[in-house]
């Protein structure tokens, strides 16, 4: 038990004493994860509307593929992107491997299917008559989509939260594409993996507690947004 107490004490102390290493790690984690969540949402939410409201061949197949991709392991994405960005790879000349950009690329691939699939589920639940009514009243398709979006926003925000939860807790992509360079691409999860490798469990668990606290804060914030969107 003293082990857990030590970890908790260390976590509080690290946060309280403004340990510069810890804040760098948190900053990198948040920067990369929020960027990829934002990008994936910007791509995924319109994609979801497209899939739901456009009739096209292979629509069912597209949805099945999206659902399958939700189970894509991070190491597979890591390997694929690595193969492209590596010095001997197709995009090797861009020198992107082991940068924050590479991490964002991998993470967007990871959560685009999640953001899209969950948004599809969210807007498919909205009563069809909202859209029909808007269209009958002379709304353009985009305006009609906005009406549907407003009805579904609660569930869409939930989709974004799920996507964020996936990237902030992810370790495979960050490790393979970011490379865990201290002060540059080291995130909370890769730092934890490292402390485990070093045998410094107390610091590892302390970081885990900070991560939990951080996700909690982000969720409280999103919850607040949801609450407002409901009113």
């Amino acid at each position: 038990m003293s082990f857990l107490a030590d970890s908790l004490l260390s976590a509080v102390h690290l946060l309280w004493s403004l340990d510069p290493d810890l804040y760098t790690v948190i900053f990198v984690s948040l920067k990369v994860s929020l960027t990829s969540t934002l990008l994936a949402s910007l791509l995924g939410i319109p994609a979801a509307f497209f899939v739901v409201f456009k009739e096209f061949r292979g629509k069912r197949a597209a949805m099945t593929i999206l659902n399958t991709l939700m189970a894509l392991p991070t190491v597979v994405i890591g390997l694929l992107v690595y193969a492209f960005l590596s010095r001997r790879g197709l995009l090797g000349s861009l020198n992107l491997l082991y940068t924050q950009t590479a991490m964002v690329i991998g993470q967007v691939i990871l959560i685009f299917p999640i953001a899209t699939s969950l948004t599809i589920a969210a807007i498919a639940r909205v009563d069809r008559r909202y859209r029909m009514t808007a269209l009958t009243l002379g709304a353009t398709p985009v305006q009609a989509a906005v009406v549907v979006f407003r009805e579904a926003r609660f569930a869409v925000v939930a989709a974004v939260i799920a996507a964020f939860g996936r990237v902030i807790s992810e370790v495979g992509i960050s490790m393979m594409l970011g490379g865990n360079a201290k002060g540059y691409t080291r995130t909370m999860t890769t730092a934890m993996a490292l402390e485990y490798d070093k045998g410094e469990f107390v610091l590892g668990v302390a970081l885990g507690l900070v991560l939990l606290f951080l996700s909690f804060s982000v969720n409280v914030f999103f919850h607040y947004l949801q609450g407002r969107s409901r009113a």
Partner: protein
């Protein structure tokens, strides 16, 4: 089936499953990634199993984690390369004894264009100094491993101004500090990536950076794979780069549950003439990587 029975049955399955896989004692050995990556264990362990019937499971980590596994009694024997820490490990009662098995050496690697101009230098500390002065990319293990320990010692010897970072954590309710020594430029030219030797080599290759490696892993990555490294050895042969490996069975007085008899057997086997000859004869792409230290002392 009642609920309680169902739960009991499930738990039985969970706890019984490792037992099916085992069948007899399997020796657990914690070792360093450099030992594992070099491929030497793939020769030694099967030979040991054939001779004694004892099977060995290998867990490859940094030296810090391998010793930690030993301190926690998670393994039966540790095989690492950080002599001072190993001696402390035995002195503090975690290990029963230490036997010197072999050594290899460290080398400084770098890209062909050699921006710091260290090619052919014989003094490792001076080479490090030039790398720091030219702010050339340098990839460090940064994982508290034996190789990282050695690298930090070289930075200290290089005379470069070193920065120190300390992190305060609590252990058994008492404040303790962890220190991390580096020559500046963290995240810019000095890249501390906290990963195993193989990952550090590929990272350095990708960034065309300098790095510090044991010779065995380097040879394996340079010549042992279809897609080898471009990085070359730019500095070698300095006596400070000597890297001895020791094997330590866990102390059965402190850890009564460990398979001491088997661990003892493995340790003594590794210093036997047969194993020592295997070590001396091991070649990576035609090059000797390890040098036996116990040959001749036996008789």
């Amino acid at each position: 089936m009642s609920m309680r029975r169902y739960i009991a049955f499930s738990l039985f399955l969970v706890f019984a499953s490792p037992a099916w896989a085992a069948g007899g004692v399997v020796l657990k050995m914690a070792t360093t990634t450099s030992t594992e990556n070099s491929g030497l264990l793939d020769v030694l362990i099967p030979a040991f199993t054939e001779e004694t019937g004892i099977r060995v499971k290998v867990f490859a980590k940094g030296t810090g984690a391998a010793l930690r596994d030993g301190m926690d009694g998670n393994v039966d024997v540790v095989f690492v390369h950080a002599r001072k820490r190993e001696e402390r490990f035995v002195a503090e009662g975690y290990g029963a004894y230490r036997l010197g098995v072999m050594h290899n050496d460290f080398v400084i690697l770098g890209p062909g264009r050699d921006p710091a101009g260290i090619k052919g230098m014989s003094q490792a500390a001076l080479a490090f100094r030039k790398i720091a002065e030219t702010r050339s990319h340098f990839v460090s293990r940064g994982d508290d491993s034996g190789t990282h320990t050695k690298e930090q010692a070289l930075w200290r010897a290089s005379g470069v101004h070193l920065s120190r970072k300390t992190t305060e954590i609590f252990r058994k309710g008492k404040k303790r500090t962890l220190t991390f020594l580096y020559p500046g430029g963290l995240g810019r030219w000095y890249l501390s990536i906290g990963q195993g030797m193989g990952k550090v080599l590929t990272f350095a290759e990708e960034k065309q950076a300098y790095t510090f490696s044991d010779r065995g892993t380097y040879l394996k990555f340079r010549y042992g794979r279809r897609q080898g490294l471009d990085l070359g050895i730019l500095c070698q042969g300095d006596p400070v780069l000597y890297n001895p490996y020791g094997i330590i069975p866990l102390n059965p007085k402190r850890f009564p549950h460990v398979a001491f008899r088997q661990a003892d057997r493995l340790a003594r086997w590794l210093v036997s003439p047969h194993a020592q000859r295997l070590i001396a004869g091991y070649r990576i792409a035609g090059r000797q990587a390890f040098f036996p230290d116990a040959l001749g002392n036996e008789r």
